[in-house]
C-alpha cells in the first residue's frame, strides 16, 4: 500500500519502537512483498533459511521446521507418551493423536482454531485427531508471536501450509519405506497414508516413529493442496477451547493461580501523568488481608510504569477494598489537563478553514466547488473517544525471584497480551533482565480489540512482585480499566463535496482534525492520502490540523477506519441525496471500472472487488424495495485491512427517536475463508460491536480525568437490541486475509444512512444517544 499519509516516525514519543506502528509496518510489508500475484502461492526458500528459522522481516511467511536436538528431553514432548515431533508446530503420538501448537495470541478472533486447521489440511490429518495447545513464547522456535491489524491469517497462511505439507511428506517418506512402495503412489488423507493402486495403508500413529527419522523435505519441492481438495479449510469448526470455556476451566490470564501467590491492586492518578506525593500507607497496611502497601515512582512512561500506590494482600477482594480507602496526595503539576469540551469548541472554531498541513491534493477542488453548474455541500462530523472494555479486565501474574548464591534473578510471567514478546525489551530496560532470565506464558485473552498491545500492566506487576518477593497476580478493577485505557481517539472531520449537472460526484475535500499524544503519533488518528474516494476523483484535497493531548490512546478495532468510514460513507450518501440520486447507483459510479489502486498489491483497494460486495449486499438486502413509514435502508462500503466489506442496514425510528435495527446484511471479500464458523462470528461480532459503540459509548475527560467509570455510565449493547446479521462471503482466489476488524467500519454509516432514509434526519455525530436517540 502506498501509504504516504501519516509520515510520522516509527519511534514513538518515548523513544522506543511503537508496537502499534510495528504492526502497521508489517501490514505495509505484507503489501510490498515481491510476490504480488493474487493467486495462492508457494514461497520459494532456500534450505538454509528453512532450517535456520527464516527471518521475520518483510512479513516473511516462513518458519523453520526444527527437529528435536540431542538435548531434547521428555519434557519437550509434553505428556504424549511415545510422541514424536515433526516440526515446531506438530507432534504425533504412536496412538495417532496429533498435537498442533498455536503460537499466536487468541483473543476471540479465532486463530487458535483457524491456523491449526491450515496445518491439518496440508498434513492430511483428520480434524478429530487434532488437539491444539498454546505454545510457550519462543521466537527462535515459532517466529513472531503476536496478533494485530487483522494480519495473522495473511502473515502465516503459507507458514502454516509449509508446516503441514512438510509433515505430510515425512509421513509419505516413512510409508514408502515401510510398505516398500514408491512415494509417488502414496497420498495422505484422514491421518493415514494410503496407496493409490491397492488398499494398503498405514496410519500416522503407526508411521510416527519412522516419520520423525525422515529428512526434512526441501520446501522447494513442497506442493500445496489444491483448493478443490480441501476437506478442513472452508468448513465450520467449533473453537478448540470451547469445551474448556463452557466448563469453566482456567484458561484466561485472570485465572492464573501459582503456589504462594498473593493478589495486588494498583492505584494511579485519575489525571494521567500525576505522581504520588504521599499516601496513608500505615493505615492501609492495618486493613484485613493486606500484606504490603507501597509507592512506585514509575518512569513517567504511560506505556510502562506510571506512578502509583501498590497494594498486596491475600485476596483480590482485600486489595480492592483497601484501594477504596486510599488517601493519596497527588502532584498534578505535569498531569493531563485535557478537556473534551475544549476539543469540541476548538474544532468548531477551525473546521471551516483548511487544515494546517496538507495531506494530498489533486485537480482543483475550489474551482469545482465554485462552479455554478455544481451543487456543493459541507458537513461537520464528530466522534468521541471510546474505551476498549475487554470483558476480562487488565491483569497479569508475575514471579520475580531474586537470585541467590550468585545466580541471576529470574522472572516468570503469565500474560494475556496481543504482543507477548513486547515484554522482553521492557523487562530489559526497566529491570535489567535478559531474555534468558524471563519465562513467558501466553494466556488466552478475554477480549482485546487492540487494548492489550501495551505492556503497562505487565510492568506494574513485575515491579510489585520484585518488591514483595512472591508471585503476584495484579487485577485491575473495572474502574481502573475504563479510566486508564489507551482509548480510541476522538476527532472531527469537516467535509465538502460537489456534484455536477448529472448528479455525479466531482470533488471532495476533507479537513481532518485529529490528535497527537505529547507530540507523537496516535494509532487511528490519521487520514490516508489513499483514502476512498480520494483516488476515485479528479478533484480531491485532504488536510489536517492536529491537537496535542496527554490522554493515552491506541489502536481500537479497525483504527482510523472505524471513524473515517462513518464520515465518508455518510457524506457520500449526503451527496447522493443532494443530487437526487440512488445511493447504490452513486456509489457504484464512484467505484468506476474494476482496477487496483496500487496495481497488483492485493492489500490495496480493488474497485472490482468493492463493486462485487456492494452489489451482493444490496441484492441480498433487496435494496430499493418499498419501506413502511418510519423504516429505512442504509448502505455503506468500506475498505480496510485488505478487506472489501459492504453492509445494508434496515432500521425503524419512532416519533420519540427510539431506534430499532432490524437486520444487517453483510457482503465480504477477504479471499478464501479458513473457518466458516469463525469468520461469520467475526462479522456478527463486528456488526454488534459497531452498533454498540455508535449507539451509546463515549469517553469524556475534563481536567485530565476520565468522567466514566463502570458499566452503569458506559454501556454495552444488550441482547434484546442485537439485530439479525445476514452474512455473505465472496470467496475470491486472492490470498486469504484477516477478519477481526474490517466488518466494523461500514456499520455506523450504514445505520446513519438508514436513519436518514427512515426519518430524514442526518446523523453526523456519535454516539446516537447524544443526538437524542434511544434503543
Amino acid at each position: 500500500m502506498n501509504d504516504n499519509n501519516n509520515d510520522d516516525a516509527m519511534m514513538d514519543d518515548e523513544g522506543s519502537i511503537d508496537v502499534v506502528r510495528a504492526v502497521e509496518l508489517e501490514i505495509n510489508a505484507l503489501a510490498n512483498t515481491p510476490n504480488r500475484q493474487p493467486a495462492l502461492s508457494i514461497k520459494k526458500l532456500d534450505r538454509r533459511s528453512f532450517l535456520k528459522l527464516s527471518g521475520i522481516a518483510s512479513g516473511s511467511l516462513v518458519l523453520a521446521a526444527i527437529m528435536p536436538g540431542p538435548g531434547a528431553t521428555a519434557e519437550d514432548f509434553g505428556n504424549l507418551v511415545g510422541s514424536v515431533e515433526l516440526n515446531a508446530f506438530i507432534k504425533v503420538s504412536s496412538e495417532g493423536k496429533i498435537v498442533i501448537y498455536s503460537s499466536n495470541p487468541e483473543m476471540g478472533q479465532g486463530i487458535k482454531t483457524a491456523l491449526p486447521m491450515i496445518i491439518a489440511e496440508e498434513m492430511g490429518a483428520r480434524w478429530a485427531d487434532v488437539e491444539v495447545l498454546q505454545s510457550d513464547v519462543d521466537e527462535s522456535r515459532y517466529g513472531r508471536h503476536g496478533a494485530g491489524g487483522s494480519t495473522t491469517i495473511a502473515r502465516t497462511f503459507d507458514q502454516m501450509r509449509t508446516m503441514g505439507a512438510s509433515a505430510r511428506e515425512m509421513f509419505i517418506g516413512a510409508a514408502s519405506l515401510a510398505m516398500e512402495l514408491p512415494r509417488e503412489e502414496l497420498y495422505a488423507q484422514d491421518s493415514t497414508i494410503s496407496h493409490v493402486f491397492s488398499n494398503k495403508s498405514l496410519s500416522f500413529g503407526e508411521l510416527a516413529a519412522l516419520a520423525v527419522k525422515q529428512s526434512l523435505p526441501d520446501p522447494k519441492t513442497l506442493i500445496f493442496k489444491d483448493k478443490a481438495d480441501y476437506t478442513i479449510i472452508g468448513t465450520s469448526v467449533t473453537g478448540v477451547d470451547n469445551l474448556e470455556i463452557v466448563s469453566g476451566l482456567a484458561l484466561f490470564g485472570i485465572d492464573v493461580r501459582v503456589p504462594e501467590m498473593q493478589y495486588a491492586a494498583y492505584q494511579k492518578c485519575p489525571a494521567f501523568g500525576g505522581k504520588v506525593v504521599s499516601a496513608n500507607l500505615e493505615a492501609i497496611k492495618k486493613l484485613p488481608g493486606i500484606t504490603a502497601a507501597f509507592i512506585l515512582d514509575g518512569n513517567e512512561n504511560v506505556r510502562e510504569l506510571s506512578s502509583g500506590v501498590a497494594l498486596v494482600g491475600t485476596s483480590t477482594w482485600a486489595v480492592f477494598n483497601a484501594k477504596k480507602k486510599l488517601d493519596i496526595q497527588w502532584d498534578e503539576s505535569t498531569a493531563s489537563k485535557d478537556s473534551w469540551t475544549q476539543m469540541v469548541s476548538r474544532a468548531k472554531q477551525i473546521h471551516a478553514q483548511p487544515g494546517t498541513e496538507l495531506i494530498t491534493e489533486s485537480g482543483d477542488v475550489n474551482a469545482s466547488f465554485s462552479n455554478p453548474a455544481h451543487q456543493t455541500i459541507e458537513a461537520f462530523y464528530e466522534y468521541p473517544f471510546v474505551a476498549h472494555l475487554c470483558m476480562e479486565p487488565m491483569n497479569c501474574s508475575a514471579h520475580y525471584k531474586a537470585g541467590s548464591n550468585g545466580e541471576k534473578d529470574t522472572l516468570e510471567l503469565w500474560i494475556p497480551t496481543q504482543a507477548p514478546t513486547r515484554a522482553y525489551p521492557v523487562v530489559k530496560s526497566m529491570f535489567d533482565l535478559d531474555k534468558e532470565q524471563v519465562k513467558i506464558h501466553q494466556m488466552r485473552l478475554g477480549g482485546s480489540f487492540g487494548r492489550r498491545v501495551y505492556a503497562e500492566y505487565i510492568c506494574e506487576v513485575i515491579a510489585i512482585s520484585k518488591q514483595v518477593g512472591v508471585p503476584v497476580k495484579l487485577t485491575w478493577s473495572r474502574e481502573d480499566d475504563i479510566q486508564h485505557d489507551f482509548y480510541r481517539v476522538g476527532g472531527f472531520q469537516s467535509v465538502k463535496g460537489s456534484v455536477d449537472r448529472n448528479g455525479k460526484i466531482v470533488a471532495f475535500e476533507d479537513h481532518f482534525m485529529g490528535m497527537t499524544y505529547k507530540g507523537g503519533r496516535i494509532s487511528g488518528s490519521g487520514f490516508r492520502a489513499t483514502e476512498f474516494p480520494i483516488l476515485n476523483l479528479k478533484n480531491a484535497r485532504a488536510s489536517k490540523t492536529m491537537f496535542d493531548i496527554q490522554t493515552p490512546c491506541g489502536p481500537w478495532r479497525a483504527p482510523g477506519a472505524n471513524t473515517t468510514a462513518f464520515v465518508i460513507q455518510s457524506f457520500i450518501h449526503e451527496l447522493a441525496v443532494k443530487a437526487g440520486r440512488d445511493h447504490l447507483e452513486v456509489l457504484l459510479e464512484l467505484m468506476g471500472k474494476p482496477q487496483w489502486f496500487d496495481q497488483g498489491n492485493i492489500r490495496s483497494l480493488n474497485t472490482g472487488r468493492a463493486t462485487d460486495v456492494i452489489k451482493l449486499a444490496a441484492h441480498k438486502a433487496n435494496w430499493g424495495r418499498p419501506m413502511p413509514k418510519g423504516h429505512g435502508l442504509g448502505l455503506a462500503f468500506h475498505f480496510s485491512h485488505a478487506a472489501h466489506v459492504a453492509e445494508v442496514v434496515e432500521v425503524s425510528v419512532d416519533a420519540n427517536k427510539k431506534l430499532k435495527v432490524h437486520n444487517v446484511t453483510v457482503a465480504v471479500d477477504v479471499g478464501p475463508i479458513i473457518n466458516m464458523s469463525g469468520a461469520t462470528a467475526q462479522v456478527e461480532g463486528a456488526v454488534i460491536d459497531g452498533l454498540s459503540t455508535m449507539m451509546g459509548q463515549k469517553i469524556t475527560m475534563e481536567n485530565g480525568r476520565v468522567e466514566q467509570s463502570n458499566f452503569h455510565d458506559y454501556q454495552v449493547l444488550r441482547i434484546p437490541n442485537a439485530p439479525a446479521v445476514d452474512i455473505h462471503f465472496i470467496q475470491s482466489d486472492y490470498s486469504p486475509t484477516g477478519l477481526g476488524e474490517p466488518a466494523l467500519p461500514p456499520l455506523a454509516p450504514a445505520v446513519g444512512n438508514a436513519i436518514f432514509a427512515a426519518i430524514g434526519e442526518r446523523v453526523r455525530k456519535m454516539p446516537l444517544t447524544d443526538e437524542g436517540f434511544t434503543i
Partner: protein, 177 residues
C-alpha cells in the same frame, strides 16, 4: 474474619474469610473455582452469574457469608460428571464463544431460564439474558444455542427445588469473627 460452610456444587466447603467478601472472590481466590468471572463488581455485566438455590445471582455483590447452607452451583458444577449440560453442548455445537470470557455467566443465566421455562421464545430469552453483556457480540448465537438446548432437553437437568433465599437467611451458619 468469619468461619462458615458453603455448599458448592454439592460439596460442603469450610471457609474462613471476611464476612463481607463477595461469593465471587471466595470462589476464585479462596476455593480456586475460577470459572466464575469478574467483570464489573457492580452487578451490571452478569459475568459472575452463579445459582443460589436454583436462582441466578450476581456473585460479585453477594457476600458469601449470607449464602451459608444454601446450595450454590457454579459453571464447574453444571455438567453431570463427564456428561455436559445440554446448554454446554449447544454452546459448543453452535460455536458461541469468541473471547469466551462472559460465557460462563451466560450459560448460568440460560440454565436458570430453562429450569423455569424449558421452551423459551426469543422474547423470553431476551428477558432472561438482558443482564449478561457479551462484548464480542455473540448474542445471536446465544439465542440459537438456548433454542438448541431447549430442543435437546425435556426435563430439568438438575433438581433446583431447594429453599428460597429468605428461609436461608435465617439459617446462616456463618459466625462473625
Amino acid at each position: 474474619m468469619a468461619k462458615y460452610q458453603l455448599n458448592i456444587n454439592g460439596e460442603d466447603i469450610d471457609v474462613d474469610v471476611d464476612p463481607q467478601m463477595p461469593l465471587l472472590w471466595v470462589l476464585r481466590d479462596e476455593i480456586g473455582l475460577v470459572g466464575t468471572k469478574f467483570g464489573c463488581g457492580i452487578a451490571q455485566c452478569g459475568a459472575c452469574t452463579v445459582h443460589v438455590s436454583g436462582q441466578p445471582i450476581r456473585s460479585c455483590i453477594t457476600p458469601a457469608s449470607m449464602l451459608a447452607g444454601q446450595p450454590i452451583r457454579t459453571i464447574e458444577g453444571l455438567a453431570n460428571g463427564t456428561e455436559l449440560h445440554p446448554l454446554q453442548q449447544a454452546w459448543i455445537d453452535v460455536d458461541v464463544p469468541q473471547c469466551g470470557y462472559c460465557q460462563a455467566g451466560q450459560i448460568m443465566s440460560a440454565a436458570a431460564l430453562l429450569e423455569q421455562n424449558p421452551s423459551p421464545t426469543n422474547d423470553d430469552i431476551d428477558a432472561a439474558m438482558v443482564g449478561n453483556y457479551c462484548r464480542c457480540g455473540a448474542y445471536n448465537r446465544i439465542r440459537k444455542a438456548i433454542h438448541l438446548a431447549s430442543e435437546n432437553t425435556t426435563t430439568p437437568f438438575y433438581d433446583a427445588s431447594t429453599p428460597n433465599i429468605e428461609q436461608i437467611d435465617g439459617d446462616m451458619k456463618g459466625e462473625q469473627a
